[in-house]
Every structure is written in structure tokens, then in C-alpha cells.
Amino acid sequence: MLLAQQSQTLEPVAPWLFYLFAGVAVLGALGVVLSQQIVRMAVFLLFTLGSVAFLYFFLEAEFLAAIQLIVYVGGTLILIIFGVMLTSKNPFVRLTVPVPQRLLGWGIGLALALMTGFLGVKYVASQGADGRDSQSLLADAPHDSQSLIADAPHDSQSLIVGVQGAEHYGVADLGRNLLGKYALPLELAGVLLLVVMIGAAYIAKGRHADFEEGGAQP
């Protein structure tokens, strides 16, 4: 029943667009698994991260899509490629794993994916049976306003449909939560980034060299 209600999601262009970006993401992830050259893995990871950023648009998380593109694709991936450049004399060097170990790793990954996917589909199926009832019961709880009860399923419905949703969340909701409910985690994230910056510079300095050579840093 829930699936029938969600079938109007993301009309009219979205189904094949979703399959396009999801397919690119899955192919990129498979490329990361199957490729043995680190630079090609980085390029496949770029495709996956970009496609996931576009999928965030379908989930009404435009700001998160921008953050994903800026931080992941523009920051983390560039950092990884710098790491590849700094840590190999030959960037196309192959470090291969023996075939039995590789097959075992792929089997474990496949089993984990099947487990997670099965759990997710089972959750959606069980929620389609009684989740909608609990939500309508939740909407029935305030007895004072009859119109709220009448309108509540329609509102959540329009939010789920998300195309004409008057209440789809935007950056303003994110900002209010970030400075209200999540103010302490925000401050902790700032402190964490400072600690990471100092710590990364300290670790990557190579302190074994300057003790012996009197600060002569190569």
C-alpha cells in the first residue's frame, strides 16, 4: 500500500533518471572493487560520488548534494589523488591480492550487500502493512483540531510526492537545526576539524628526520 502511494514519487522525469544515476553509481562502485590500479579506482570513485550527489537531488536534499560535490568530489577525492601521487613512484603500480583471497573478499561483500538489501526490502514491506496505520494513529492523537486530522495524511502525502510539496524542507530548516538542536555537535565538528588539521600536519611532517639531522627537513 505504501509502495502504491509512493509510486507517484518524482514524476514525471525521474524514474529513468534515477536508474541512470543509480546505474552509474553502481558501475563506479563495481569498478572500484574490480580495478587493480589506484588511479582508475579514484576515477571510478569520482563517478560514484557524483552520481550519489545527483541522487540527493531526487531526495529533496539539494544542499546536501552541493555539499557532497564540494567536499567529497572537490576535497576528499583531490586529497586522495594527492596521496596517490605522493606515495608511489609509479602511479600505475599493481599491488595484487592472491585470487582465493580476492574471491573470498568479493563473496563477503556480496553476502553483506544481500543481507542489507534483504533487511531493507523486508522493512519496507512490513512498514507497508502497518506503518501507515501507526502514522494515521499518530495523526489522530491530537483530538482538538479536526481539520488537522483531515489534512495530515494529505500533507505527508504531498511531502512524500515532493514535486508540488509546499513543505519540502530547504536550507532554512537545515540552518535552524544546525544552530538550535545541533549546536553542540556543530561546535564539536569545528573543534574536530581544528584538531585534524594540526594532527595531520604533525603526523605527515616526518619527525624521524629532523631529530637526526638537526631540523634539516628534506
Partner: protein, 111 residues
Amino acid sequence: MIGLSHFLALSAILFGCGAATILTKRNAIGILMGVELILNAANVNLVAFNLYNWAGEAVAQGAAPAVDGLMFAMFIIVLAAAEAAIALAIFLNFYNHFSTIDIERARMLRG
């Protein structure tokens, strides 16, 4: 057509690929890429659940739509960036010591 289960399936596939990447790479930076894939799978799950199952309940109670899943995803992105920076610093130090990035050579802590 496109419901919550589609996003859950995509996230499961990404998670499996990330786990297989971690298990089958000898290059330390490849393992870091696997971790990034797993964190992305978790982010997709958080954002999808927030849209389909979480935001509507707050709206049904007359409040503003809840964005807790998006907040969690944002903090996960911050943590992933910090983790990548620290991990690459450790890898650079490792490369300075051993002149390789092969994790099979990291045996100094082995008893």
C-alpha cells in the same frame, strides 16, 4: 516506481562494494576509498529514510519537517573528510618509513 526500497537497494550495493574493496586491496589508499564508499551508502540511507519516513511525521503533527537525517549525513561528510586527511597523513608517514604503500609490509606492531 521509485520508492524507499530502491534507495535501500542502491545503498546495499554500495555498501557491499565498499566492504569488498576494503577486503581485497593491498594499497592503503584503496582501503580508504572503500571506507568512503561505505560512508556514502550510509548517507544515502539516512537521506532516504529522512524523506520517506521521518519528515512526514513532524509535518503530521503540525511542526516543521524534520531534517535529522540530513543533519546526520552532513556530520558524516565532515567526519569522512577529517578521516581521509588523518589517514593520508598516516600513509605518508608510512611511506616515508617503508618506501611502499603496501599494507602487507606494515608488520611493526605484529608480535
